[in-house]
């Protein structure tokens, strides 16, 4: 994979786009959780080595649930919503009390759908801002150590030694003890397309 030509200015622009996109995703989540107040960190956009990403999620061996979609069409991106197992359970129980969390097929379905709606909200916002048609895949879920999930999600597109642009935020619902991360991994062509559309060289 070709090393990314990216500078601070471009990273700032990605952060700004992400702020709006993530804002939409968090708004959707709040609406699904009965207007629960959810705080969101200022997004980060940086060049990272893929193998270092699990550390950013709390450690490669931390068991987590990850729901992700891929977008194709105008730009190829992977969008991933990751939560700890406790947060997953709290989210599931907020929506459907009485389920056995991730041990319940319906619980898994709840998480898939929440992740689906959030990642699509991000995509819808990005589409609106850029005019690109971004066609989402049906969502996938993985419950595993974060290192394993990152490997699986990225496996087809690049190798772990690659340096990639990672756009990220962390969200928290204090009341319901739900905390998670949203990660965006655009591929190089997606970044070039977006910057070209915005008139940035």
């Amino acid at each position: 994979m070709v090393k990314q030509q990216i500078d601070e200015r471009k990273l700032d622009i990605l952060k700004e786009l992400a702020n709006i996109g993530f804002g939409n995703a968090v708004t959707s989540l709040s609406q699904m959780l009965h207007e629960e107040k959810i705080s969101m960190d200022v997004p980060s956009a940086e060049l990272v080595y893929l193998q270092d990403v699990p550390e950013l999620l709390g450690g490669a061996e931390l068991p987590v649930a990850g729901v992700y979609i891929e977008s194709h069409g105008g730009a190829d991106l992977t969008i991933l919503f990751v939560l700890s197992l406790d947060s997953s359970t709290n989210l599931i129980l907020t929506l459907v009390p009485g389920l056995a969390g991730l041990n319940d097929q319906m619980g898994i379905s709840v998480l898939i759908e929440v992740g689906n709606i959030m990642t699509n909200s991000y995509l819808n916002a990005l589409s609106f801002m850029t005019g690109l048609l971004l066609i989402p895949s049906p969502p996938e879920i993985a419950v595993d150590m974060s290192g394993a999930i990152i490997s699986t999600v990225i496996a087809e597109k690049c190798v772990l030694e690659d340096e990639v642009v990672l756009i990220k935020t962390t969200l928290k619902s204090m009341q319901k003890s739900i905390e998670g991360h949203i990660l965006i991994l655009p591929d190089n062509r997606a970044l070039n397309t977006i910057f070209t559309l915005l008139g940035i060289r």
Partner: protein
């Protein structure tokens, strides 16, 4: 007697949520399809008055399913309920024959209002 509805969504949780909203509002859910292909088949076998249709699904997406159902029945009353809300695809769904397009997350009132407007 309530109007008969076919629900289409690839997520069990969303099918359950829609069923609850619809039954609470006097509709009869006569079938649940998990993808566009099932929706097209069930439209014939179950003959609903109304259909809710997701867009992003495996095997056959909602736009394709809408086209095929409209081919079978030009009077079919389909409303889209999808997480995907980009303008180009909304327009394509409506041009293919959908009568309304609701973006998730939705308020239950919005679904009921859309169905009532379509003649349910």
């Amino acid at each position: 007697m309530g109007k008969r509805i076919l629900i289409t969504d690839d997520t069990a949780f969303m099918r359950m949520t829609l069923r609850n909203v619809l039954e609470k509002n006097g509709y009869e859910v006569v079938g649940e399809a998990e993808d566009g292909l099932q929706a097209v088949e069930m439209y014939s076998s179950v003959n609903p008055d109304l259909v809710t249709m997701d867009i992003t699904m495996p095997k056959m997406d909602g736009i394709e399913a809408i086209k095929r159902i409209m081919q079978k029945d030009p009077d079919a009353k389909i409303i889209v309920v999808s997480a995907m809300g980009q303008k180009a695809l909304v327009i394509e769904a409506l041009n293919s024959g959908a009568k309304d397009f609701i973006v998730k997350p939705f308020q239950p009132d919005r679904i009921v209002e859309a169905l009532q407007k379509v003649g349910g």
